[in-house]
């Protein structure tokens, strides 16, 4: 019972990874089963084109988790490198970075991602690009603040005196001490990226039909709320379970690694 967040996350990860071998057909249209209620034949019912909702949920999980992890990996690498350099060197490099991040942070929530996705046009690649353009800021700020306090530490000074190269100091002597807060940040960012991907797809800016995405499924589901409430409920509960699980894991990780915010 204690490990339910991990169980939920593993469930979605496994079905997402195993999707190609599970034999589901998320895009198979069955006009006899339009908006059919849940049954033994299709556990969670069918959507407005008679497609199996459970199969589409799994396809959507694949998209959602892939986007979240890809964007997290890319932005964490970029943002951390930038923050390390700015925090270590200080001076104008730091000032420029701080001004740029200040500007990015002046756009609340996913507003900037919406704006980027809007001008770049819909589609999976542009969705990933829009999320990458906006999610590096948190890592850069976090790393910069930590690097600023780390650069005066004795072991860093010792490494400098011993003639270690700058990359060595940054990546061998400073980065390992940053891993705990970065890991916590990354966990929470996966949760918010899952929501962001769904938000953009809900607005029609993400994955395009016929491909399944939790956001676009919710958008379709809302239209048939009265006749087929099972559609929205199935997608909403799935999304909520995954986001909740990742957030609780983040909380646990933060307490275990003793990271202060």
């Amino acid at each position: 019972m204690k490990h339910w967040p991990l169980a939920i996350l593993l469930f979605w990860l496994i079905v997402a990874v195993a999707a190609p071998w599970l034999g589901f057909q998320p895009d198979a249209i069955d006009l006899d089963r339009i908006l059919a209620a849940p049954s033994f034949q299709s556990w969670l019912g069918n959507d407005d084109l008679g497609r199996d909702i459970f199969a589409r949920l799994i396809a959507g999980a694949e998209v959602s988790l892939t986007v979240a992890m890809l964007v997290t990996a890319a932005t964490m690498t970029f943002g951390t490198a930038l923050g390390l350099i700015a925090g270590y060197y200080g001076g104008w490099v730091d000032r420029v970075l701080m001004h740029v991040t200040d500007v990015f942070l002046a756009f609340p929530g996913i507003l900037l991602a919406i704006a980027f996705a809007a001008v770049l046009g819909p589609g999976l690649n542009n969705l990933i690009l829009a999320l990458c353009l906006t999610s590096w800021v948190g890592y850069a700020r976090l790393t910069r603040a930590q690097a600023l306090s780390l650069r005066g530490r004795q072991h860093v000074l010792a490494a400098q005196v011993l003639g270690a190269t700058t990359p060595r100091i940054l990546f061998r002597h400073m980065l390992p001490l940053l891993m705990a807060p970065l890991l916590v940040e990354a966990t929470f960012s996966i949760a918010s990226l899952i929501v962001a991907e769904a938000s953009l797809s809900f607005l029609g800016l993400g994955i395009q039909p016929p491909h399944a995405s939790w956001g676009s499924m919710l958008r379709d589901g809302v239209r048939y709320l009265l006749v087929a409430p099972h559609y929205v409920l199935a997608v909403g509960v799935s999304l909520m379970s995954l986001v909740l699980a990742v957030n609780v894991l983040g909380d646990t990780l933060r307490d275990t690694l003793d990271v202060k915010r």
Partner: protein, 303 residues
Amino acid sequence: MLKRLLAVLPVVLGVLLLTFLLVHLVPGDPVEVMLGESATSADRSALRSELGLDQPLPAQFLTYLSNLAQGDFGRSIHSQVPISELLAERIPATARLALLSLAIALAIGLPLGIVAALNHLRWPDRLATLSALTLSAMPHFWLGPLLMLVFALWLGWLPVSGMENGGSIILPALTLASGLAAILTRMTRASMLEVLHEDFVRTARAKGLPERTVILRHALKAALLPVVTVVGLQLGSLLAGAVITETVFGWEGVGRLLVESIEKRDYPVTQACVLVIALTYVLVNLLTDLAYARLDPRVRFSQ
């Protein structure tokens, strides 16, 4: 105070620059994307010169700034209406929604947080923490339809969507308030728990003050300070959240205008909406900082 005001200027300038550059991020020719394939080349060059896209970039930016300074946001490509008129039509609706959401979030979050802190680790605390956690895992495009399903379709108490009816603001406001209510509950709880162990609370109790006075006058007053900052920061998220919530409920505010403009590829309108939301956010943050300085004697007297 003056220093804080001056620090905002580069941010505002950066926001203006970034929103200005948005149109230039359109892959290919923005004019072609906006007008579609049926447009004649005369139409295209007319729009290009109207938007100033035939000028060099720095000149374009200066024109953009000087137009904005005169309250001129340009015209909608779709309807030819000046964008300032569109905004003037939509801003009151979003302001109403955001302010009601803020009130709801405060009305839910503060009492829940206080009750949770006073019953630390007992069932009211666990219930409040669990609700806050669940609410924060419910994006607006899932909570909105859920509330719609229960209160509008099944129970029939409130209108499904639109804004003709007086009650139609309730569901979107509740939806929009959810995230902030969850954050406020957690913040108030944490802040109260910290304050309750302070010396001045023990002193107040030792003086024999009634528990009500100790909690409401002494502890709460100190505990609310950090909460003020969160409210300020989160008011901006309310504006961003309004984009989704207004879309779910067909609420004709700035957020809906933004989404409509994206669907019609009406980029000048998109640009204006993004700019208005971001600048409001910057302004609210500035006001929060100033309010915080007034409220916290430590900050007030150190200046």
